[in-house]
């Protein structure tokens, strides 16, 4: 079959449309992004979290997280009096659909959003037998799922319960800090959808990031500091009962 000018003119728009859909399957390029210029973390303001579960739903949608597993979740703590050792904690379906009503005058209640702490000294990357999980130069703990053996050693090594084995891909899965978004100048899906600003993406290498002013003026804490993993998710007003 020979293609004459007429055929060519008809095929061109079709090919252009097809090419668009080919491009849709490949990650967008971010030519201006330099990993060496960033060091990502997150700020959680516990006093602002209302436990609506928007972040969990947004994350699941954005990252195609399978049901029953969580890249981020919200816990509700209930602490009565001084007994910090025995908080009552719930996180029904990761807090995705919110929480049941609280009893009045029965102590303090507060929400703690959780996600991978993107530790600078991450025990999960240390134990990976093939180096499939690693800390990127801009400080995000990622998994190369085409390389992961699915041995689950990293899941065992994470002190925070942030990793799981993907039930269909059979590889380790976790929060990527929406790497596909933040490298294009966007914020994460969870931060984007938080109605109160309880979560804020933070670039610790950017001197103009508001995180610096916040850290200078507030008493913040990280989770399980005794693990010496140098987490980069900072919590404002973290209660001593949280673990």
């Amino acid at each position: 079959m020979t293609i004459n000018r007429r055929h060519f003119m008809i095929l061109m728009p079709a090919a252009a449309i097809a090419w668009q859909s080919v491009l849709a399957g490949t990650p967008e390029e971010s030519p201006n992004y330099k990993t060496s210029e960033h060091w990502w973390g997150m700020l959680m303001d516990i006093s602002k979290c209302i436990g609506c579960g928007n972040c969990v739903r947004a994350c699941q949608k954005e990252n195609d997280v399978p049901d029953g597993f969580f890249r981020t979740w919200v816990e509700r703590y209930h602490v009565t009096d001084y007994n910090l050792e025995n908080p009552q904690v719930i996180s029904p379906d990761g807090g995705k659909e919110g929480f049941p009503a609280v009893e009045e005058d029965a102590g303090k209640y507060f929400f703690v959003p959780k996600l991978c702490n993107h530790c600078a000294d991450s025990p999960c990357t240390q134990v990976c037998p093939v180096g499939a999980t690693f800390v990127s130069p801009d400080g995000v703990v990622l998994v190369d799922q085409k390389y992961c053996l699915g041995c689950a050693y990293c899941v065992q090594a994470c002190p925070y319960g942030c990793r799981y084995i993907h039930p269909e891909k059979h590889v380790a899965d976790k929060c990527t800090l929406c790497y596909h978004r933040i490298t294009k100048g966007l914020t994460t899906a969870c931060c984007e959808n938080c109605p109160t600003g309880a979560r804020q993406l933070a670039d610790l290498k950017n001197p103009n990031d508001p995180i610096h002013a916040f850290l200078k003026t507030h008493k913040v804490q990280v989770l399980k500091p005794q693990m010496a993993t140098r987490p980069k998710v900072f919590y404002n007003e973290l209660d001593g009962s949280v673990r």
Partner: protein, 391 residues
């Protein structure tokens, strides 16, 4: 949530390391233990255990061949496992397994067995016919000189390999312990004592396994059991067991006395979910009873028949106890939340890739390998009875 008490982080609910990962340290432990028993004769010249020497080596090899299978079956992507050799992540304890395994298999065990059997292989090559002759011919690796001088060299080389093999056996199993002991996120595992406890429990299980195998195979061959030999093995079993028990108690007492943030959670678990496997199986039936029985044979002069029964009972209980110990480490370490606020449940599946049937099949496979090895390389000369003065 079904099977969950208290609060678990949402991703923690289902266990990731199953009964197959229980089997893995159990099997490598048997390998290391069997080899240590073999070295008693070879390096430390404990002549009494000579009847078990070759059987111990073949047992170690049969189990070592099966050791990586539970790991392989457990992986989400077993087809990528070769990457551990090609692109190992040097900071990972698990990445080194492949190398330690290969070193132990090829540099220690296979070489030692070949050197030890070389003269036999040459003789078998000369006396058999057909495909077996080809096989033995290949196994000689072209080295058919069995002159007294050549055999003397074999003996020397074999001794050197065994000397290298002893620390290698410690490395093999100590390293398995390190895989668990180095996980700082998990207080049930994280302890520098774990690799040491693993080594001693490995020796206990391996020595008990070879003792039982020796008694069983001798019985099957309708030959009298060399009581002096089993007495000596039982004596070593008892002393190693005392050290093992001492170390485990040290770990326990240390945990109870320190009572750190995880203690209440772990203590609760031992009293509930692990009560049967830890208190009943591991400590009472698998340790206290065999230790008491073995102690009895050391201090009271019992008739040989009674001693044999005691050795079979205590050996079998020891094996159960060590398997329970592996279970308690691997499964126990995943039953509690790292928040120390809740517990989950583990149910063994039956017909899955990591289920009970697969575990049983993998537990039987070393015996099939051992049977083939024994047929190919008989560890005893037919009709041989090692007669030694009774103790």
């Amino acid at each position: 949530m079904p099977g969950v008490e208290g609060f678990m982080y949402p991703n923690e609910v289902s266990l990731l390391w199953s009964i197959l990962i229980v089997l893995y340290p159990f099997i490598t432990g048997l390998v290391a233990g069997a080899f240590i028993l073999a070295s008693l004769e070879r390096v430390f010249r404990v002549e009494a255990v000579k009847p078990t020497y070759r059987l111990a080596l073949l047992t170690a090899l049969a189990f070592l061949l099966v050791a990586p299978l539970p790991l392989q079956l457990h992986l989400g992507h077993p087809e990528r496992s070769l990457e551990m050799y090609l692109t190992p992540h040097t900071s990972s304890a698990m990445a080194m397994f492949g190398f330690v395994y290969l070193w132990y298999l090829m540099a220690v065990l296979v070489t030692e067995i070949w050197i030890d059997y070389r003269a036999d292989i040459v003789r078998l090559y000369q006396t058999t016919t057909g495909p077996l002759r080809w096989l033995y011919g290949a196994m000689t690796l072209g080295s058919t000189n069995i002159s007294p001088r050549a055999l003397a060299i074999d003996d020397k080389v074999g001794w050197i390999i065994t000397v290298i093999g002893i620390p290698s056996a410690f490395l093999l199993h100590g390293y398995v312990g390190f895989i668990f002991g180095s996980v700082k996120a998990n207080p049930w595992w994280s302890s520098p004592l774990v690799p040491v406890v693993f080594i001693f429990s490995a020796m206990v299980s391996g020595v008990a396994a070879v003792m039982l195998l020796y008694m069983a195979t001798t019985k099957l061959r309708k030959l009298p059991i060399d009581i002096h030999c089993v007495d000596t093995i039982a004596m070593y079993l008892f002393y190693i067991f005392v050290i093992d028990f001492g170390l485990e108690m040290l770990d326990l007492i240390h945990r109870i006395y320190e009572a750190d943030e995880s203690f209440r959670s772990l203590d609760f678990m031992v009293h509930t979910k692990l009560f049967f496997s830890q208190i009943i199986l591991q400590i009472i039936l698998g340790t206290a009873v065999p230790l008491a029985l073995l102690f009895l044979t050391q201090v009271v002069k019992l008739p040989a028949g009674v001693r044999k029964v005691i050795y079979v009972v205590s050996g079998s209980l020891t094996m159960i106890g060590v398997f329970a110990m592996r279970w308690n480490v691997v499964i126990g370490g995943q039953l509690f939340s790292k928040s120390f606020l809740g517990y989950t449940t583990y149910k063994v599946a039956l017909v899955t890739r990591e289920g009970l049937l697969m575990t049983i099949a993998l537990s039987l496979l070393p015996f099939l390998f051992l049977w083939i090895l024994v047929k190919l390389l008989p560890p005893w000369t037919e009709g041989e009875v090692h007669v030694a003065p009774s103790a």
